[in-house]
């Protein structure tokens, strides 16, 4: 964001709504995410023209059309690669990748991990509904084992990805999880992701009312959610509800225990800035694969040099040492001879 200009006008949410009719199924979680995103963009403080949304294929990937910024609705799974070329060559842009669990983790898994590993200055929003929506309801790389769908009538045999674990395994500097229905939390995570220099990865639990309705219901039901959500706040104790908390196990793994049993002093405090990704990874395994206690918030927020900065530095260094390239000199380099 260092080279991204600041807007000199103050935008309203409506400034980011395009004139295109939004066409998602009624009740789709994408509406809530779009509204939160449109509501957040004014506070991003970046000129509209310096924002680019790049998406792949899938329901979520229609996102760019609904925003009055620059955008590219590209091809299946390749948005991180396209965004890499854009961000690496244009450090003045705020680049957002919109993808889904099929797009980003299946066909585009390779590009995603490499963009995160390189720390390209992009923000990846992965809408996870644990199902293939656009192709009408096949199991996805995040579907639970045994999932019965059209392509898995006897239950899916696949072991699912945990997207947060995957992103941390690729050593992403910023990794967070949030939920489509919690606009305040979602907006807070977007804000932090945008503030982060380099690649940020945000998993957004998103409901598909047609093919996987209520997949995240336990996390949304006001009566139940507080006993399941582990809200990650830097410096605060890691508590699930009031009476359970996260403790360190014998081998560095994390577990959830009754506070009354283990004592308050054993409950860990969240540290999102730990350089070593091991702790954040252990946190990401807590809910896997059930939903008994689901960490939401920022798992990791660690700064390291971004790809576009490093690339620009090399160009600058080459020019400082060797001077700006001069074409005639280049063509005539090496052994030459002259014929009169």
């Amino acid at each position: 964001m260092k080279l991204v200009p600041r807007a000199d006008v103050s935008y309203k949410m409506k400034d980011f709504k395009s004139d295109q009719e939004v066409r998602w199924c009624p009740g789709c979680g994408d509406y809530a995410i779009l509204a939160a995103f449109q509501g957040f963009l004014p506070e991003l403080g970046v000129p509209r023209e310096n924002i680019v949304i790049v998406s792949g294929i899938g329901c979520s990937s229609r996102f760019p059309y609904y925003l009055s910024t620059y955008g590219m609705h590209s091809i299946h799974g390749r948005a991180p690669a396209i965004a890499t070329g854009l961000a690496a060559s244009r450090p003045d842009l705020s680049v957002w990748v919109i993808t889904g669990d099929g797009d980003g983790l299946s066909i585009g898994g390779n590009h995603l991990i490499h963009a995160l590993r390189r720390n390209v200055n992009i923000n990846v929003l992965l809408f996870n509904n644990r199902i293939y929506g656009l192709t009408k309801g096949q199991y996805s790389p995040t579907s639970e084992p045994g999932k019965v769908t059209k392509s898995s009538p006897m239950g899916s045999l696949d072991s699912p990805f945990n997207p947060v674990s995957l992103a941390l395994g690729a050593e992403a500097g910023f990794v967070a999880r949030t939920v489509d229905s919690d606009r305040k939390h979602l907006t807070g995570v977007l804000r932090a992701a945008a503030d982060h220099e380099g690649a940020s990865f945000v998993e957004i639990y998103q409901n598909c009312p047609i093919f996987n309705d209520d997949a995240f219901e336990p996390l949304k039901d006001p009566a139940e959610r507080d006993t399941r959500l582990l809200r990650l706040e830097h410096g605060e104790p890691l508590l699930v509800g009031a009476d359970r908390g996260v403790v360190l196990g014998e081998y560095g793994e994390l577990g959830v225990a009754d506070v009354a049993e283990v004592g308050e002093e054993r409950i860990l405090r969240h540290d999102a800035h730990r350089a070593d990704p091991g702790y954040a990874f252990a946190l990401s395994r807590l809910d896997y694969p059930a939903f008994d206690h689901v960490p939401v918030g920022i798992f990791r927020d660690v700064a390291r040099p971004t790809y576009d900065e490093l690339m620009a530095e090399q160009l600058g260094e080459a020019q400082a040492v060797q001077g700006r390239g001069e074409l005639a000199g280049l063509l005539a380099s090496g052994d030459t001879w002259t014929v009169d």
């Binding site: 760019p64 091809i75 070329g85 244009r90 390239g325 001879w337």
Partner: protein, 617 residues
């Protein structure tokens, strides 16, 4: 002892040895010496895909052929006049290419029972008379090198390794090559290893002195400099020429160059070369795969760079989906496919020109794009600039079909005057073009049919593009049947219209009474040209034309084809251009095809041409 110097007008030398013997380096140095002497030249490196096949075996043989002359030549030559064979495998792999009376210098130290047996020689061919049709010079290259270096503080292995410099020294003496360049080269290569440097210089000198003093070589040869057009020259390979052309194209268009690429033989050297030129503002991105390479290039193009991706056949296949997106989004993009023998992995280090139909049609839907092919290593420079021109003018991906032979082969290149290169400057769209002050991303230039290139960061022109069909003008998603029909036809018309903007196909028909036309494309230009000369020298009449633009074809191509009784189309594939010509022009062209991983031989093509001529008489 004064030795005789004999004048020759041209020589073909082939260095052959084990993959570890440094034959490519030796050949390259001899080439540079020859270039700086002022001969015209053409080279053909030929090496295995394995980094180090087992020593002394046939699959491990690496060779480098150089043709140099006192006049302009077009090919690396059909058959070597001189073979340097560093071991029995090198002899066995190459001896059948030698004409009677050719000179063979063999490194006798390597002709041991074991090495001979390894390649199936029952006895020693150097001694058993089986090479009597050749002039064999047995030279104990390894032991003489080791002996020459015995006072140096280096290992025996390092001393043995310098035998290629001994061989280079000997050949440099034989052909009166200037040696300063090789001295300079060794000094910079071994700047950090003074002892190895001294040993290599000594080995080189020892080889030279051996030629000068031994009675085995009573004659040395001289090939006078060629009478080339005045100018400053350098030797250049196709891959370096493409790299320079891309840098030049970026400069001329005023765009930053962005290369997204994944290493693949024989295209990798373009990535290597461009990576060296960061001071030109060149961004090189070694992607995680071919798809990411082209994707990043397209992303950079969207952002206002000259996006380029480089690859070879199997990688090209993976890029197909993104090429479709580039066709649909109508952004400039340059795709270099350095063709190699296929299908699948094929023969990675061997040449072919069999990706033409893939370049033309290898995408889903009606997906037209311009296709160009350079005809010689130095033409790679001009083709890269032409690809830039077309890509930025028409907002389209452009495929350049180079090949392994052009990529690694080299020839003298007259360095162009930078001031004479075309102005390709691009103006991004910065103002609204819609009736109500809005922006229409698919509103076209009536001349070129190109759509505006408005890059992110431009206020007021925010818009969305993508792979889904867009409404003409507004760029909104459209499933309208009429709109799709219009857009498909318009994209085709845009590419077809480029024909108005490229030079007509030139036909070389000096007497004007040829009845037979030979038409080629890409890297076969040299072989065809040399064959045409042979036929003409023998009194035959033949016209020659060579395509550099394959999509669209030059506007006069149909007329040219119909002007001759017979059209011969030689290709290193099974007749891909011939298929296109028949389909497009209903002309029954005669295909001549060969897929051996090697360029055509001029003599062979001349024979085929003569046959086609004779058929009509």
């Amino acid at each position: 002892m004064t030795k005789q110097v004999r004048q020759l007008d041209r020589v073909i030398i082939r260095f052959a040895g084990d993959s570890g013997d440094g034959m490519q380096l030796t050949g390259d140095r001899f080439t540079q010496e020859t270039a700086s002497f002022g001969n015209d030249l053409s080279t053909l490196p030929n090496f295995p895909a394995e980094i180090r096949a087992p020593a002394g075996t046939l699959p491990g043989v690496s060779s480098f052929q150089l043709h140099f002359a006192d006049h302009d030549i077009m090919t690396p030559g059909d058959a070597p006049d001189v073979l340097v064979a560093m071991n029995p495998a090198a002899l066995k792999a190459n001896v059948d290419d030698l004409p009677d009376g050719a000179v063979v210098i063999v490194n006798t130290d390597e002709f041991t029972k074991r090495n001979l047996a390894k390649v199936g020689y029952g006895g020693d061919p150097v001694e058993d008379g089986s090479l009597s049709r050749l002039k064999v010079s047995p030279v104990p290259l390894t032991s003489m090198t080791v002996k020459a270096l015995e006072d140096f503080d280096i290992s025996k292995k390092d001393a043995q390794r310098a035998k290629n410099m001994f061989a280079l020294g000997l050949l440099s003496w034989m052909y009166n090559r200037p040696t300063e360049g090789t001295h300079g080269f060794l000094k910079s290569k071994f700047a950090q290893k003074p002892e190895i440097l001294a040993a290599n210089l000594a080995a080189f000198q020892a080889g030279w002195n051996f030629g000068e003093t031994t009675e085995d070589f009573a004659v040395s040869y001289e090939v006078k400099p060629a009478r080339l057009a005045p100018g400053t020259y350098r030797n250049i390979t196709g891959n370096v020429a493409i790299s320079y052309g891309l840098i030049a194209g970026a400069r001329l268009s005023g765009l930053p160059l962005f290369l997204g690429s994944y290493p693949i033989t024989p295209a990798s050297d373009i990535l290597h070369e461009l990576s060296k030129h960061k001071r030109f503002g060149v961004r090189t991105f070694q992607a995680e795969d071919e798809i990411a390479g082209v994707g990043a290039a397209l992303g950079a193009s969207f952002g206002g760079s000259l996006g380029v991706t480089t690859t070879s056949g199997p990688g090209m296949v993976l890029k197909a989906e993104t090429l479709g997106l580039a066709v649909m989004t109508e952004l400039p993009l340059i795709v270099i496919d350095v063709q190699r023998a296929g299908p699948s992995t094929g023969m990675p280090t061997k040449t072919e020109q069999a990706d033409l139909l893939m370049a033309m049609f290898g995408r889903n839907g009606e997906s037209p794009l311009p296709v160009l092919a350079p005809r010689s290593p130095s033409d790679c420079f001009d083709i890269a600039i032409e690809a830039t021109r077309i890509a930025v003018t028409y907002r389209t991906p452009v495929i350049v079909l180079s090949d392994g032979y052009l990529a690694n082969g080299s020839e003298p290149w007259r360095i162009p005057d930078v001031g004479g290169l075309p102005d390709l400057s691009v103006e991004f769209t910065t103002a609204p073009n819609g009736p109500d002050g809005g922006f229409l991303p698919y509103h076209r230039d009536p001349e070129t049919l190109a759509r505006p290139w408005a890059v992110p960061g431009t206020p007021g022109l925010e818009h969305r593009i993508g792979g889904i069909e867009k409404s003409s003008g507004s760029g909104d998603i459209s499933y309208s049947p009429a709109n799709h029909d219009l857009m498909v036809r318009t994209r085709q018309a845009k590419v077809d219209g480029i024909a108005r903007d490229i030079p007509p196909l030139e036909v070389d028909d000096p007497t004007g009474d040829a009845r037979v036309l030979v038409l080629g494309w890409g890297g076969t230009y040299g072989s065809i040209g040399a064959a045409v000369r042979r036929v003409r020298r023998a009194g035959g009449h033949v016209a020659q034309a060579h395509l550099r633009h394959l999509s669209p074809f030059p506007a006069n191509l149909g007329e040219v084809l119909r002007a001759y009784d017979r059209v011969l189309v030689p290709e290193i594939n099974l007749g891909q251009l011939a298929l296109l010509l028949r389909g497009r022009f209903l002309v029954d062209v005669i295909g001549y095809t060969k897929v051996r991983g090697l360029p055509f031989k001029a003599e062979e093509l001349a024979g085929v041409l003569q046959e086609v001529i004779d058929r009509g008489e």
